[in-house]
């Protein structure tokens, strides 16, 4: 099993959700993060205080998948998140040793996408 982590633009979050849905990926957790990468800083001013903002809002997806589902998930993420401009984000894949469904206590594959099968 893998834990797939993706950092994407907030405005693509819903497209990513839709793409994941079409790829039959159901379980997913998302959170707001701020990222620093290749994008230009923007300058902001508050009264006399001028600052360079080096972080941009991003949305982080965390998706546990069975090994077979890893590539389809990545494809769905790429499809939903890509705009082609700097700042599109990254996908990281981390090995996942165990996955447990809290409701039932059942473990491993049964607990991750695909849920039935």
């Amino acid at each position: 099993m893998k834990l797939v982590i993706a950092i994407v633009r907030p405005e693509r979050a819903n497209d990513v959700l839709a793409a994941l849905h079409h790829a039959d990926v159901r379980g997913v957790s998302i959170s707001r993060v701020q990222g620093h990468g290749g994008e230009l800083e923007r300058v902001e001013t508050y009264r006399g205080t001028t600052v360079a903002m080096s972080l941009n809002d991003k949305v982080r997806f965390e998706i546990a998948v069975s090994d077979d589902f890893c590539d389809p998930t990545i494809d769905a993420l790429l499809e939903g998140a890509r705009t082609g401009e700097v700042g599109d984000g990254k996908i990281f894949v981390v090995p996942l040793e165990r996955a447990i469904r809290i409701r039932t206590g059942e473990a491993d594959e049964a607990a991750v996408t695909p849920v039935a099968g």
Binding site: R9, E11, N14, Q34, H36, G37, G38, E39, L40, E41, R42, V43, E44, T45, Y46, T49, T50, V51, A52, M53, S54, L55, E85, V86
Partner: protein
């Protein structure tokens, strides 16, 4: 410190307050509108109202007031009061409050009306273009319509009744908003994504403050503490309550949930509907008006987002439509025994309805085409809207260089001296091709 002889202290006291109340409505509107947009456009939305406070106050003092309220022809006033010439302590003919106070009161009306139109173009219109729009609109549209019904213009001559601004405020802003939405066009994500209000508490508080201010708006439009003012004031309590009750019912029938955003909208719709009619209807008919006016606005708000028309905050439905209903309602239910002025159709005076109908035809046309032409003209001078990229960044950062809710993380202090160093530190990741 002695006031001119014909000034009445009680009338003046109330009109001072009424003016302050109407002034408060513009920041309240800013708050109300800001709650409706996404957080990245919060400040820009609020600033459109603040901009009206800045630009329109000045333009109205310079020429707008004069064009509306000094002698002219049936269409527009003259320049006798331009730059506040001869606007002093002596009341205008037939009035009991200082002329200067009358001016201030009228100024607050023009300010909020202009600010209302911003609801049609939030989240994409460029701020400089909006500033220019405010300037031109507040000179070319509002004063003309105000002159028609209040400054001795042709509608007033015919006998059209408009207590507190169905014509120059409500219909004007609503149909101007329609034109603005058409010229500026939809937000790029409109119809594709769910664009939700980021803070409904601001919406509710904004609506509460607007209602509070509206007591000055309607209650002050009798220019004193006479019966008309008392009636208008009380009706401003009763009508929106009736609108709320009907709105709750419609919401409940539709999907068994009374919405908070809907309630805030109902307050505005009720206040708008009673605005033109406030001093002309009995309390009972005022409540009827509040109830009746809920219906068209409710369904237009439901229907509009299914169209391609991104008239974003539904100024047409809330102000244009409800104002129109209010103007027409006078034609039916005005009651001379309450208002001392005129009866409507129901009380035997069909002519009043005809006069009201005239306003309902002429005002939308002038407001719509005037605004359309102004924005098309400005569009020739400068782009009206931001680029798609800027739109997705959000107008707060793009147009104002600020965030509404800054946390300071990742914010690097720049001082003028270390501009060079900063530039180095801030160098972005070299982009791999």
């Amino acid at each position: 410190m002695l006031a001119a002889a014909q000034v009445n202290a009680g009338d003046t006291a109330w009109m001072l307050v009424a003016t302050a109340l109407v002034l408060l409505m513009t920041p309240a509107l800013g708050l109300f509108y800001a709650g409706f947009v996404r957080s990245k456009n919060t400040l820009n939305t609020f600033m459109m109202s603040v901009a009206a406070l800045a630009v329109v106050t000045v333009s109205f003092a310079a020429v707008g007031y004069s064009l509306a309220f000094s002698d002219g022809n049936g269409f527009i006033g003259g320049l006798d009061h331009a730059f506040l010439r001869d606007v002093g302590f002596t009341p205008r003919e037939g009035m009991t409050i200082p002329h200067l106070l009358f001016f201030a009161y009228q100024a607050t009306f023009c300010i909020i009306t202009a600010a209302l139109i911003s609801g049609a173009v939030v989240e994409r219109m460029r701020f400089p273009a909006f500033l220019l729009f405010l300037l031109v609109w507040s000179v070319a549209v509002y004063p003309v319509l105000a002159h028609w019904v209040w400054g001795g213009g042709w509608l007033q001559e015919r006998g059209t009744l408009d207590f507190a601004g169905g014509v120059p405020v409500e219909m004007a802003s609503g149909f101007s908003a329609l034109a603005a939405a058409l010229v500026v066009r939809a937000r790029k994500d409109y119809g594709r994504q769910a664009l939700l209000p980021h803070n409904a508490v601001f919406i509710l508080l904004g609506a509460g403050l607007l209602w509070f201010g509206w007591f000055g708006f309607n209650g002050g439009s009798g220019f004193g503490v006479g019966n008309a003012s008392i009636l208008a004031f009380t009706n401003t309590l009763l009508a929106p309550a009736a609108t709320l009750v009907v709105w709750f019912t419609l919401d409940q029938l539709r999907d068994r949930k009374v919405t908070a955003v809907g309630a805030a909208t109902a307050i505005v719709v009720g206040c708008v509907a009673i605005t033109p009619a406030a001093g002309f209807l009995s309390p009972g008919f005022a409540m009827l008006l509040g109830a009746v006016a809920a219906v068209p606005s409710y369904f237009i708000i439901l229907w509009r987002p299914r169209t391609r028309l991104d008239e974003t905050l539904d100024v047409l439905a809330a102000h244009g439509t409800a104002g129109l209903v209010g103007i027409l309602f006078i034609g039916f239910f005005a009651q001379a025994s309450w208002n001392g002025v005129s009866d409507g159709l129901v009380f035997g005076n069909a002519g009043q309805l005809a006069d009201q109908a005239l306003a309902v035809l002429a005002t939308p046309a002038y407001a719509f085409f005037g605004t359309f032409a102004i924005l098309k003209g400005i569009g020739l001078l400068m782009p009206l809207r931001t680029s798609e990229h800027e739109e997705s960044l959000g107008l707060d950062v793009v147009e104002h260089g600020e965030e509404a809710y800054a946390t300071g993380e990742g914010a690097i202090l720049l001082t003028q001296e270390d501009g060079a160093r900063a530039a180095e530190v801030l160098q972005p990741v070299p982009v791999v091709p």
